[in-house]
Symmetry: C2
Subunit: 210 residues, 2 copies
């Protein structure tokens, strides 16, 4: 089902009204800084129109969600806007269609609720934001939700915990595709202490989930 | 010199062509998530015009740099664009004028080079990105540059190390203004492990500076 992959891989980030800024720009910083390996594209309801984050910042979309140009990696962020977008048939259809041909399908935070609502996580293991975990679970009753995890990988799906967890997942994607050394070098260059263990998650306990 | 402060404080982020995305959206996520305490405004060359990051994402400015509306906190990010902007008289004048009346003047990464080029750091202690440290030093020969520091506070100036260090500095600003407990709660809510010690910086050694 996956298309042959050329480097740089195209990473499509699905913006929607009320996306969480760090969910987007943590992974975008990590992947985008490796220009030879990744090319990041911002997708929105309409090309060349601004999409407003949960905190008010406006980011222009490069392409529309349903633009047919292929994506190697899909990234769905979370944020307050997911509460509305899980019922947005146009967004869910676009995510589903891209997921059929992309090499990796990823989410940060409550972005997993959108993947779940699209039916993509049924029968799979996944994680999400720990503070909104019960709501996310309600969007995918057939998903095996893992509360205590920084990120969870199942086949070509990689879902991360809340907000800052997306940075660690992005570094894991780099390690998976290009080796741990490059991920570690990049983290040090960007003065980031990578939490490189998928199972090391104190925030599930913090939110009373374990 | 500082104006009386009302809460929420207005945080003005100075965007310019080639700003580093995480330098901006790390601190914006931390401060902006506390709506009762902070109101974040994006400043750019022109109001309502997009500013393109070093990695290609376009963010709309809410106000122009030289808009006279007061700012309680100034935040100057870094990025490749600083190489050009240290010679941009209009930007330096705007930063200087806002710095005269604002409660706190902060920078992330090579944003310190802009504060230095504006003459604001002369005789003060400051830090910056560790990878571009020599270049930043050249922009402020009268600044006491501290290589090994996650962030440095001197009076109402707070400068941070590179890229991800801005997140830790933003949490410190929250702790300074509203107490450590709120900063720690926010970090846990956003699933972020705060590096809460200003002097704990492994990246100066990584870049051979100490």
């Amino acid at each position: 089902m996956t298309t042959p992959t050329e480097v740089p891989r195209t990473v499509g980030v699905f913006l929607f009204e009320g996306f969480e800024p760090l969910d987007v720009f943590g992974p975008v910083q990590m992947l985008g800084a490796l220009r030879d390996q990744f090319h990041v594209v911002m997708l929105g309801p309409e090309a060349e129109r601004p999409v407003t984050s949960s905190l008010g910042q406006r980011v222009l979309a490069d392409r529309a969600w349903d633009d047919a140009a292929p994506l190697d990696i899909i990234m769905v962020p979370g944020g307050q806007g997911t509460r509305v977008e899980v019922a947005n048939a146009r967004l869910l259809t676009a995510v589903r269609r891209h997921a059929e041909t992309s090499e990796l399908v990823t989410s940060v935070c409550t972005g997993a609720a959108i993947l779940a609502a699209a039916g993509l996580l049924d029968g799979r293991r996944a994680t999400s934001n720990k503070r909104a975990f019960a709501w996310v679970q309600s969007q995918g009753p057939a998903v095996e939700w893992i509360a205590e995890a920084r990120w969870v990988e199942d086949g070509h799906y990689v879902t991360s915990g809340g907000v800052a967890a997306g940075i660690d997942m992005a570094l894991y994607l780099i390690a998976r595709l290009h080796g741990t050394e490059l991920a570690e070098q990049l983290a040090s260059r960007l003065e980031y202490r990578w939490n490189s263990s998928a199972s090391d998650d104190p925030f599930a306990a913090y939110q009373g989930l374990v």
